[in-house]
Symmetry: C2
Amino acid sequence: MRKAVGGGLIGLGVVGTGVVRVLAERADFFTRQVGVPIIVRRAVVRDPSKPRLAPIDPELVTDDAAALLTDPEVDVVVEVMGGEEPAHQYIRRALEAGKHVVTANKELIAKHGPELLALARERGRYLLFEASVGGGIPLIAPLRRDLLANRITSVRAIINGTTNYILTRMAQEGADYADALAEAQRLGYAEPDPTNDVEGYDAAYKLAVLATLAFRSRLAPEQIRTEGITRLSARDFLYAAELGYVIKLVAVAERRDHGLLARVAPVLLHRDEPLAKVDGVYNAVQIVGDLTGMVLFEGRGAGAEPTSSAVIADLLEIADAVVHGIPNRTAWSLEEQLPVLGPDQIESRYYIRVTVSDRPGVLARLAKCLGDNDVSIAAVNQKEANEDQQTAELVIMTHRARESAVLRALAEIAELPVVAEVSTFLRVEE
Amino acid sequence: MRKAVGGGLIGLGVVGTGVVRVLAERADFFTRQVGVPIIVRRAVVRDPSKPRLAPIDPELVTDDAAALLTDPEVDVVVEVMGGEEPAHQYIRRALEAGKHVVTANKELIAKHGPELLALARERGRYLLFEASVGGGIPLIAPLRRDLLANRITSVRAIINGTTNYILTRMAQEGADYADALAEAQRLGYAEPDPTNDVEGYDAAYKLAVLATLAFRSRLAPEQIRTEGITRLSARDFLYAAELGYVIKLVAVAERRDHGLLARVAPVLLHRDEPLAKVDGVYNAVQIVGDLTGMVLFEGRGAGAEPTSSAVIADLLEIADAVVHGIPNRTAWSLEEQLPVLGPDQIESRYYIRVTVSDRPGVLARLAKCLGDNDVSIAAVNQKEANEDQQTAELVIMTHRARESAVLRALAEIAELPVVAEVSTFLRVEE
C-alpha cells in the first residue's frame, strides 16, 4: 500500500493557489476519502522569487518544469497555467512520463483533447478536465458518465460569464456596450484585453469541449461559426424586449439529420426559455438527451474557488485510482465524425436592424432584396429617426429562412445607396 | 477476461421495461463502452403470466426471487419494484450473496441507505441509486463525486413533479386544489391515491437521500418536518403574487450553527429565485457548496425514460468495475451526526391567512396574540369578505420570528371566538 499520492502543479495563479489552499485546509477529510494523503510535491511557476499567497513551502516552488515532469514522487500533474503552449507540451510529456493529468485548460482541450486523450489511454493514464468548462458546475463528468445511456441531440449554453455580465447590464439598465464593458473591467469580470471573451472565442473553446463529449464526434473550435457581442447596441435589447425576447450569447451544438449545427453568437431567446433567465456572471448548460429530455446545469462558471472544486474532484478521482491500482478505462470514446453544417444547410428566423435614409420607398427596396432571396418578412418596425442625419432604423423579423439566403440578401442590402449600414443581424434561437 | 456482465431485474414495470428496452437497443454501444455485453439473465415479477412489453425472452421472467439472488451468472441486481418491503430484504440478500446492486427506490434508500451502504462496503460491492432522486437529472453522482471538495451548506429542491404540476396549475390558472389534482390524475401525473405525493412524503424521502449525501450526516425521513399542499387555496397564490412571491413545495436541508434545518413544506419563494421559475413536472435541486457557490440541476424528475437513463448509468459504472476487477471504494462516507433543529431553533418570515368574523376589533385581537408571543407584523391585508357568512380574510406577513412562537400564537388565534379558522400558514423561503 502506498503512503501518499503526489501532486505537481504547473501554474500557481489564482486557481493554483485555490487548489493548494483547499488541499491544505481539508487534508484530513481528503485523506479519509482517498485512504492516504494527497501531497503537493512541487509547483512550477515562471518566477519563483515572486511572493505567493499559496500555503506552500517556498522550496517546492520552482521554474524547472522538467524536474516536476520527471519526479517519481509526482503521480498527478495539475496544469492550471492556461494557454495553448507550453501547457500542451507539458501535458504531453507528463503523460509520456506515466503521470496522470488534471487540467483546467479549455483552449488546450478544445484544440488537442482527442489527441491527448488517445495518448492517455495508450499509456493507461487519466486525463481529466472538469474545470475546463463551467468552473464548479459538474458538466464533464455528467457527459462522460451520468448521461452515457443517452443519445444527445443538443447542447445549448451560456458559458462565458464576462459577456453574460455585459449583456445583462445592457438589458437591465439600457447601458451601451462600451459602458457595460468598462464596468465589467472595473469589477474584474473582464480582462484589460477582452477580445477572447467578447468575440466569443472563449465560448467556442468550451463548446468544442462539450460538443465533442456529447456527440462523441470531434468538433474543433475553428469549425464553430463564432460571432461576438461588440456590435450590439442598447436599442437592440429594447427592440428585442418589445418582441418578447432577450439577447444572450449562446453557444449551441445540435445534431441534425446531415450533421452538426455548431455556433457561438448573440441570439434572440424567448423570455420564457430557461437560458433567458440566466443573468450576470452565471453560466448554464442545457443538454437534451433522448432519454432524459432537457437537463439544465447552472452555476458560477469561473473564479478560483469554483474552479478549485472541479480540479480537486478530478484529483480525488485519480488519487483513488492510484491507491487502488485501477486502470484507466474508456468510459467515453469518440464514435463517429459528424460533418458541420454550413449556412446553406441551416434555417432560422432572423432579427435584422438596418440604418437607412429617412425617405419614401426605402422599405420597398429592402423588401425586394429579401424577397429576391426567398426571405419572407414576418414583421417590420420603423424606429426612431435621427433628424440630424436624416436616417431611420428599420427592425425586421423574418419568417424561417435559409441562412445562406439571408446572408446574401444582407450583402445586397448593405450595397443599397439608401442604406447606411446593416447594424445588427441576430438569429432567433428556438 | 469475462465474456459478459450479467444483470438481474427485480420489477418489470415501466422503469424495468425501459431499462430492458434501452439495453437491447443500444447493446452495441454499451458493449464498446464496457468491453463486454451486459446481458439480462432474469427478471423477477409478481405475475409471470402477465403479457409484457419489454423485449425479453418470456422464459427469463419468473416469480422466483431466490433463483435470481443465487444465480451465479447475475453480477448486478437492478431493483426497480419500489416500496420498502420486500425490496429491502431482496437487496440485503443480493449484497450478502456478493451481487452489486442498482436501485431506483427512494423510500428504501431514505430508510435503509446507510445500513445497506455499510453492508455493501463490507462485502466489497457497489450499491448505486442515482435513479432514486430526480429521474434523469444527475444528482447522486455529483454529490458523491463532483462536489466532494465542498463543504455543502444547503440543499433546496423542487423534487416532486406531481405537486409542482398541481401548484403550477393553481398559480397560472387560478385553479383550486381539487380541480388541479383531478387534472393531474387525468394526465397520469398523480396517482389515484395521491397521498404520498401531496402530503410531501415522497419529497421527504428524496430530501433524506440528498441531505444524507450532502452533509455526510444521516437524515432520516421521520426527522424531516413534512407538510403537504392540500390546504392551499387558489387565493393564496393570488395574494402571494401580489406580494411578489410564488408558492412551491420546497424540500430544504440547511447546515446551521447548531444542526440541520430539514423541512418539506409549501413556501413563499420570491419570484426572482431560480426555483420560482421551475414549473410543471420539472424538478430542480439547488446545492450551495462553499467553493462552488450555488449550483442548480434541473430536468424531468420522473418517467420511464429519464429513470432508465439513471439506472443504466449506474449499471455501466458497475459493469466497468466488474470487467476491470475494480474494488468498491469509499468515494463518499458518513462523517458526523448532526442534530435536526426544532421549531424553537428556527426563524423565518411567515405568511398567515386567517378567516375571521367581519366585525370591528378582530385585527386587534389577532395582533395581540402575535405580539404577546413576540411575533411582529410586517403587513396586513384584509381580503374579500363573504357577506353571506359575515366572514372576512386577513392576510398577515410577519417579520422574522421564531417558529415555535408563531406556532404558539397561531394556536391561540385559532381559539379566538372571532376566528373561523387559520386557513394557511406558510414560511417565506429566503
